[in-house]
């Protein structure tokens, strides 16, 4: 078990280190000069621009030798300082991300967990129960195969525009400012629903299918047959099968995180939902590499953290990892 964790941790640390380094390189590799672009927006006279340029290079700590910049980056990073955004100058990147994160959690956590939970339950239920299975399979596969944004667009079009049941932009109505009241919370949920739904549905399909296939494998496993031979009721056999099928699904969850993040990203774009995804796109379109940096870093950290949580969960449910026999 210790070996299991130390191994995982090592990988996460190495990953983090590499990610951060790549991340640091980004704005320096980017062609064109972020500050130049920033200034050029305001058609300024040459010497004003020149003067501003010096301010900015200083503000962005670009006036140091490269190795120093790298060290500073780490140092700043460990102090939670991600630098300053160019496109939202002079707002600190960390502040911008801080504003966006709650929306992401609010969107991602429910959709990931619920789709996982519901998908598994339903998949297990459908497995080997012919009629359900025959309907679940095609629908499930169609759902997983659906591009997130397309489902989003469809939902937005049907429920947002044709039927007009749901708003298709923003995190809460433009007609109010945030405050604790049922109207406001209602509005938040109202705006949250469609993006949530499109994330949920795609995920649900995948998990249901996955679980369905897993269960079938497990039901054909020797231990299932033995139980049958000893006259154990179907219920018990399925219970065991489910418990064992959950494991691969759990590690599957870890592997899927990246995909879900991508999904959330475009979904947020479709519904102008002010999360990281929406932000990183704006950052890219505005050549705000410092903001891109921050977002990427945040995503990395988020995904790594989630992975770790899942590992812990895995250890809790799978005895083999605990008894030191690691099935990598």
């Amino acid at each position: 078990m210790r070996r299991y964790f130390s191994r995982k941790l090592l990988i996460y640390l190495v990953t983090f280190f590499l990610a951060v380094t790549v991340d640091w390189l980004i704005p320096r590799l980017m062609p064109g000069d972020p500050i130049q672009n920033m200034l050029s927006r305001a058609a300024l006279n040459a010497n004003a621009a020149e003067k501003l340029y010096t301010y900015y290079t200083h503000a962005f700590r670009l006036d140091l030798p490269v190795w120093r910049q790298y060290l500073n980056f780490w140092n700043a990073l460990l102090h939670g300082d991600l630098g300053i955004s160019t496109y939202l100058f002079p707002t600190p990147v960390s502040e911008i991300i801080g504003d966006a994160v709650p929306y992401d959690l609010f969107l991602l956590l429910p959709s990931i967990l619920l789709s996982w939970w519901a998908g598994n339950k339903f998949g297990a239920y459908a497995a080997r129960t012919k009629r359900l299975d025959n309907t679940l399979l095609p629908i499930g596969y169609l759902l997983t195969a659906t591009p997130y944004m397309w489902l989003g667009i469809l939902l937005a079009w049907v429920f947002g525009i044709v039927l007009g049941w749901f708003p298709i932009a923003g995190a809460y109505s433009y007609t109010m400012s945030p405050h604790l009241s049922w109207t406001f919370v209602g509005s938040v949920l109202h705006h949250w629903f469609l993006p949530f739904a499109s994330l949920f549905l795609v995920g649900f399909g995948g998990w249901a299918i996955g679980m369905r296939n897993m269960i079938i494998y497990e039901l054909e496993a020797d231990y299932s047959h033995y139980l049958e031979a000893l006259g154990a009721p179907r219920r018990l056999i399925r219970k065991y099968a489910f418990r064992n099928a959950i494991l691969p699904q759990l590690s599957g969850l870890a592997l899927q995180l990246g995909v879900v993040v991508a999904g959330a990203l475009v979904t947020e774009v479709v519904f102008s939902y002010p999360g990281i995804g929406y932000l990183i796109l704006a950052a890219i379109q505005n050549q705000d590499y410092f903001l891109v940096q921050g977002c990427f870093l945040f995503i990395i950290i988020g995904v790594l953290a989630a992975n770790f949580l899942i590992d812990v969960a895995y250890v809790i449910v799978d005895p083999r990892t605990r008894r030191g026999m690691v099935g990598e």
Binding site: D222, H225, L227, L230, A232, R323
Partner: protein, 320 residues
């Protein structure tokens, strides 16, 4: 009569059509009898044992009945059979190595299984421990997960579990094939022990390994291509077999202990017919040196001497 099988016929349903894996099997076992069930792979021995305890699709019960201690088993009806499984008839499966749920502590699994069968673990725990001692397993295995046990330990654990409710008939399917010779002997010995202590009334030992049977079996039933060939007490089968196939089988036997699983019997030319659509009559016909036109009909499984049944026209002739 502990077990009585007559006219049992079981097919496998495949997309190509029915595979006639067990045709009109009729035999019986005495109380306390350990019967060996031998034959090349694909001869239907597993089909026979499976159909006694778990006759599930793609297997199909065509006809024939099975009586255990006088009352008929609803072998065709998967659910109905549950009443008898484990309590009346039980199995030590070929795959004993991974017969236990990897993610449950063994004790817990047993508990849940028993509760499902309406038995409280508390009542049976002392007995369970006694049995563990019997097979020289420490009690703490109940607190372990299967992967923490060695192959032999798992094997024994499964034997204990399968026989926990003192079934009348135990099916031991290739229990030794996965083990090294010394463990084989031990396990085989335990089977006899179980019988002697009346834990199980009678046992069917399915194996390729005649040497094991020679050690522990009271009688041996030889099958060929889905049909019963010969059944008699061990001595007779080994020394004075009557069925041409049995003879060849015995003579071609390699040295004791060597198992020849997939390998075809070197001594016998040709190979068993495909059971998808087997030839009419005696299925050994093509390989039989004494074959003649009569063999175009299925030879009956006649008792030519007390407790000695053979399915061969030639043998029948002699006495006729």
């Amino acid at each position: 009569m502990s077990l009585q099988v007559d006219g049992l016929t079981v097919y496998y349903q495949t997309l190509q059509g029915d595979v006639r894996a067990l045709e009109n099997a009729t035999f019986s076992m005495a109380d306390g009898e350990i019967m060996g069930l031998a034959g090349e792979s694909g001869c239907g021995k597993s089909t026979l044992s499976n159909s006694l305890i778990l006759l599930a699709p793609p297997m199909k019960h065509v006809c024939g009945r099975v009586l255990l201690d006088g009352n008929e088993l609803p072998i065709g009806r998967v659910e109905a059979m549950n009443r008898y499984r484990f309590k009346e008839i039980s199995v030590v499966p070929q795959y004993a190595m991974n017969a236990m749920n990897p993610t449950r502590k063994i004790g817990k699994m047993i508990e849940e299984l028993l509760r499902a069968r309406g038995i409280e673990i508390r009542k049976i725990l002392p007995e369970l421990k006694r049995r563990l001692d019997l097979v020289e397993l420490k009690h703490n295995v109940l607190k372990m997960y299967p992967i923490e046990l060695s192959g032999g330990m798992k094997q024994r654990m499964v034997m204990v579990l399968s026989t926990l409710l003192d079934p009348s008939l135990l099916l031991a399917d290739e229990i030794t094939s996965a083990l090294d010779v010394s463990t084989q002997k031990a396990v085989a010995g335990m089977l006899v022990g179980f019988r002697d202590q009346g834990i199980v009334k009678s046992v069917i030992v399915i194996t390729h390994d005649m040497s094991i049977l020679y050690q522990i079996a009271d009688s041996i039933l030889i099958m060929y291509a889905g049909q019963l060939a010969e059944k008699a007490d061990t001595e007779t089968i080994i020394h004075t077999p009557r069925h041409p196939y049995t003879k060849m089988l015995i003579t071609s036997l390699p040295k004791v202990g060597v198992k020849h699983d997939e390998r075809r019997l070197a001594g016998i030319p040709g190979k068993p017919p495909l059971l998808l659509d087997p030839p009419e009559g005696c299925r050994f016909r093509e390989r039989c040196p004494h074959a003649h036109e009569r063999c175009l009909q299925v030879p009956p499984f006649v008792e030519i001497a007390p407790g000695h049944h053979v399915a061969c026209w030639k043998v029948g002739d002699k006495d006729a």
